[in-house]
């Protein structure tokens, strides 16, 4: 990336990856905790520095608490061996953490007392705040949701019944509730969650809706099991400003025109 885009600028673009920056799959592997027990951790082991076998030998530092919790060394995804672009033959998997830390093509783990302060974790995956300070080691992805139907690029065929459906997730655990608004945020209704609701996994929500054929803005907000509520973009910008990128979890609104066309309401 040539430069760090500003958040609002990125959100105005159609097809922006800021809708999600998320993936969810069925992973098979070995608990990293088991491997570390086999190796034997010494007192003072606080971080593990993971290095990939990519051309840049990318390194990220992971707190030992995560390594001894739900971190995995995985070799299969969705029932087949990892594909080359997904990190074959072995990669880290850190559920709920920013994806860059799930180092692909894993070739080395170094147990250390301190982070390595690599280029990625100092200059790239840090969040610049309005006062010029920068947050480092911001690992968790907070609760987020998006409506996938109707969504940008689609068109409602005619007024009448349309099910609103989307996905929600949280790096901090299970999704507890998803609310949906069909009147530009003036009122909200609780959507139905599709079982099973799994921790740190995509959760489908649905809400039946009768579209009256007039312009509308629809949006969803996720609430996770910690009680955290997905913020609006205005709430997020008011605290964090506009010069960060990777941890945007703001509510994503879609605009529905009178002819049924669905577009990005941030544009």
């Amino acid at each position: 990336m040539l430069r760090q885009p500003r958040l609002q600028e990125a959100l105005r673009q159609d097809g922006s990856d800021l809708v999600g920056l998320v993936s969810c799959a069925e992973w098979t592997g070995v608990s990293l905790k088991l491997v570390l027990q086999e190796a034997g951790l010494q007192p003072g082991a606080k971080w593990i520095v993971a290095e990939g076998a990519d051309a840049a030998a990318m390194t990220r530092s992971i707190p030992i608490e995560k390594c001894l919790d739900d971190a995995m060394l995985v070799y299969s995804q969705n029932g087949e061996r990892l594909r080359p672009q997904q990190g074959y033959p072995l990669r880290l998997l850190l559920p709920g953490f920013e994806g860059n830390m799930s180092v692909k093509w894993l070739r080395r783990l170094r147990v250390a007392a301190e982070p390595t302060y690599s280029r990625e974790e100092t200059s790239k995956y840090t969040d610049l705040m309005p006062d010029g300070s920068a947050r480092e080691f911001t690992f968790y992805m907070e609760a987020k949701s998006i409506i996938t139907r109707p969504s940008g690029g689609q068109r409602l065929s005619a007024p009448g019944f349309h099910e609103i459906s989307g996905i929600a997730w949280s790096g901090h655990g299970k999704v507890k509730r998803v609310d949906v608004s069909v009147d530009d945020g003036k009122s909200w209704q609780e959507a139905q969650l599709q079982e099973p609701v799994l921790t740190r996994a995509l959760t489908r929500f649905r809400l039946p809706w009768h579209w009256n054929g007039q312009t509308a803005v629809i949006q969803s907000r996720a609430i996770d099991e910690t009680g955290y509520v997905q913020p609006t973009l205005a709430e997020l910008l008011a605290v964090r400003g506009d010069n960060h990128y990777y941890h945007n979890n703001a509510i994503w609104p879609w605009r529905i025109a009178a002819d049924g066309e669905v577009t990005n309401a941030n544009a």
């Binding site: 840049a56 033959p89 080395r108 170094r110 250390a112 100092t122 010029g132 003036k186 609430i223």
Partner: protein, 187 residues
Amino acid sequence: MPTRELCIAAFVVAALACATCAQAQSPYGIGRSATPAEIAGWNIDIDRDGNNLPAGSGSVSRGHEVFDQQCASCHGAKGEGGVGDRLVGGQGTLATPKPVRTVGSYWPYAPTLFDYIRRAMPQNAPQSLSNDDVYAVSAYILNLNGLLPADATLDARTLSAIKMPNRSMFVGDPRPDVKNPACMTGC
């Protein structure tokens, strides 16, 4: 610093080894200890204090030559950026609406420069530069940012001693920091 290596051989998860742990600790008895020589062959990590920086040195002037040959085509003749990141300038812009994040304005630790250039640059041939040339290019980039005199030579000691201007501006993760009251009606 207690440091331990797990060398995970490609294809075989079971072929892990650690340097100092006793086999008796190992519930499954898998693998063997990696030798110090094996670890040294793998470990090129440089931490923020410059630990593990190799011997060697490089001057700003030599770095200028290397930069012109190896770096300028992506990063610009003076590090102003191109298809690659901008490397120079931006000091004083981070708290403005248009911050410019560069090595000079943003990076907290100078040894990270050596670590990253050696492991990842140039993009078409990572880990092809000599240690002396990595020191030299690091010196030139720091010089372009006003952080090293034009006649300076950089080595493990002098690189570790450089205090980057933005070093004190990094803070921990305060989240959750944004509150949504979850209004249901009349919002």
